[in-house]
């Protein structure tokens, strides 16, 4: 009986939370609003799309909701790391949320995204839940990779999110492989292979771009240029920091990555282009507030003034907030309340993730091989099925 009431109480709690969180900030209003992006697009060997973006109140509010959730999640991950619940490497995405939400608004779940290790928010954007995120970060078995991947290995196959990769630049050839498979199966989808300004100097990118251009693969290479490759500023690492021009024969587009609507416009444009003409490079001019990872304070190679300056002038959430307020889609108080709700939601998810179990020790040997064609490594007598690799 006590268990029944406890369970029903649990059932009611998230329901009420979700109702209160979304009650203020959902609308089914789809009257088009035309907004100008902050900056015009710059094109390389291509005619850039127009600065005016069509959006709707529904979309703007969803942008705000998603970005607020992402921001809150990253900050919570920060405190969890400092509390030693998250170990190893933790690369945070706050400041760059606009890239993820803008891209999601322009594409479907059938299009593939592949990125490097700064993948928490992109995972959320692709449909991952907070519980899966925090459980994976804390190494619990309810995580999206059963606790065996960690911060850098988030994947979601059913919504086309291919990770989550630790080695800088290695995901770009994989992304071109995804595009190859899309061309092979003739489904009209594209792949967004994301990488950073540091990875832009990897040779395998140029190799992959060459092959994609050669075979007209629907691959879109997205360089999230946050101007620092760990501690090295872009002007110290790249002779030509115009990453959108690096493709030479492949067209490129430079986008203000802190403006979600600009990102959306660029991604939509890129998708149409890639399906017809082959690869295109998008450079998202963005910024990360945290250091490269949690072990990097982020202030030894840049000034605090620079960080706070960008936070004041170009913060993606502030921009959307201003748009919402100027179009009277919600009041300031509603937005603040929503942020509080989000904070609560994230805290709840963390609490629930903390209660999740650690993976069983037998999980050490699962998923090493896929069962098929008898991958059973028998012991010496064939009686002992030593390390069955299921």
């Amino acid at each position: 009986m006590a268990q029944l009431t406890r369970r029903s109480a649990n059932l009611l709690k998230p329901f009420s939370a979700s109702v209160s969180a979304t009650r203020h900030l959902t609308t089914s209003d789809t009257t088009p609003i035309t907004v100008e992006t902050s900056l015009p697009f710059t094109g390389h060997k291509i005619e850039p799309p127009s600065r005016s973006v069509e959006t709707t109140p529904k979309e703007l509010l969803s942008f705000f909701r998603d970005m607020a959730l992402m921001r809150r999640m990253e900050i919570a991950a920060d405190s969890l790391y400092k509390a030693k619940l998250i170990r190893g490497f933790c690369h945070l995405y706050d400041g760059q949320e606009a890239v993820s939400v803008g891209m999601e608004a322009a594409i479907t779940k059938k299009d593939c995204i592949i990125t490097a290790y700064r993948d928490h928010c992109i995972f959320l954007g692709r449909g991952g839940t907070l519980l899966e995120t925090f459980a994976e970060l804390m190494g619990r078995k309810d995580g999206c990779s059963k606790g065996k991947g960690g911060s850098m290995h988030f994947y979601k196959k059913d919504s086309g999110f291919y990770g989550g990769h630790g080695i800088v630049g290695a995901q770009v050839p994989l992304g071109c492989g995804l595009a190859f498979a899309q061309k092979y199966s003739k489904d009209e989808n594209v792949t967004f292979a994301m990488y950073g300004d540091g990875a832009a100097n990897q040779g395998q990118l140029f190799e992959a771009l060459n092959m994609s251009a050669l075979w007209d693969l629907p691959a879109i290479l997205v360089c999230e240029n946050n101007h620092y490759g760990m501690g090295t500023a872009e002007w110290r690492a790249a002779k030509s920091p115009a990453y959108y021009k690096r493709g030479d024969y492949a067209p490129g587009l430079k986008v203000d990555g802190m403006d979600a609507l600009a990102v959306k416009q660029a991604c939509k444009f890129a998708k149409e282009h890639a399906l017809k003409n082959g690869p295109i490079i998008l450079e998202m001019d963005t910024y990360r507030y945290h250091g490269h990872s949690m072990s990097d304070p982020g202030s030894t190679y840049r000034t605090r003034d620079e960080i706070s300056g960008i936070r004041q002038e170009r913060d993606p959430i502030e921009r959307i907030k201003k748009l919402i307020l100027s179009h009277d889609l919600a009041t300031e108080k509603e937005l603040k309340d929503y942020e509080k709700e989000v904070r609560k939601e994230v805290d709840e998810a963390i609490a629930k993730a903390k209660e999740c179990a650690l993976p069983d020790s037998s999980e050490l040997f699962t998923n090493v091989y896929k069962k098929g064609f008898g991958v059973e490594s028998f012991g010496a007598d064939r009686k002992e099925l030593r390390a069955v690799l299921p």
């Binding site: 593939c112 990769h165 080695i167 050839p173 190859f180 098929g372 028998f378 064939r382």
Partner: protein, 447 residues
Amino acid sequence: MWLCSPLIHSYSSTSLSSRHRPNRHNPPPSPPPHPLTPPPRSSFSVKVACLIDLSSNLEVHCIERKTSFFFIHCDGSLTSGLNLRNSRSARLSTNAVATKQDNVTASTASKPGVTNVDETPPSKPIGNILEALREGLEEEMERDPRVCVMGEDVGHYGGSYKVTKGLATKYGDLRVLDTPIAENSFTGMAIGAAMTGLRPIVEGMNMGFLLLAFNQISNNCGMLHYTSGGQFKIPIVIRGPGGVGRQLGAEHSQRLESYFQSIPGIQMVACSTPYNAKGLMKAAIRSDNPVILFEHVLLYNLKERIPDEEYVLNLEEAEMVRPGEHVTILTYSRMRYHVMQAAKTLVNKGYDPEVIDIRSLKPFDLYTIGNSVKKTHRVVIVEECMRTGGIGASLTASINENFHDYLDAPIVCLSSQDVPTPYAGTLEEWTVVQPAQIVAAVEQLCR
């Protein structure tokens, strides 16, 4: 029905832990065998029958041939000395002799033990490893539209070693893809394509070039299934010729088995005959795990009869090449032929080596190897890998760990020297293990 020699008797006996085994000095307990006469027509007919009996000082009664040998088992099955049908495999298999002599003993049997050479001549022409690989590849591409090939010059050129000849005209440019010289990224592309469900086969023009793709093979290919918690599988096959060729130089004579063997999540197999090349190729393509198939540059033109029927071999099984009593010789790829050459000399000198082609380099088939060790109690490993950290080194450790009690002497591991392969022919010959060294090692071990 038969007077089985003690040799055969102990082979088919189940008391494998018995430490007594006949050799030159201990006479066997049972009476010496008679030279065999051809059996009555009802069971099987053979044209040649030979029996090697060590106790009778090598009276080899050979009607038609002097250099090969056969064992007639107590249950009436015939096995040739060079290629024993692996009785554990339930699939159709052909016993074929990979030598230049007249192939009277080639037998296509639909059930093990019954051979009727006169009545069922094999209908398949003799093919070499290249053709075997191509057949396997083509059959799999026909069977599953998701199978595709990527590599340098595999398409229009037909493959640098002509393994993919004719496939591009048949299946199109996208399915047999000519890539630019960018191993790192086209291996990465193949892995990305595999994540979505395609089954690519990556050809390294020479295995050594795959070193450039090591990051992709190790991190993405081997580990993705694990780090994604089982969400993605990578059914990729990476293949290519490796090994020491004819004066190809240091960089083109590399043996990468040792570098790849520690990567968790991949499987490695090495083919050595046309029969197992085709079978392993098909098995590798059908496997849902990443498989690296090691071929050898010098073996591509080796001819053998390939069965007509479709067959797939087990990726984790070793092949018993020649059963024996005195010493277990474990080998793979090209060294198998050096070992068989040495085996001829050894047999003439009175030894009875058991030769096993381990085929599966990761994981090792410890069952077959273990049974052999329990029988012979001495092991020689002959490999082409380097001395330091090679496949032989791992195998030595594995056997020591598991079968220490059954060993009478330390394991002898003959491997290539730890030097870059020189260009000069004589020097190159001395970097790899030669049959004379194998004979000397066995003699030393069985002293």
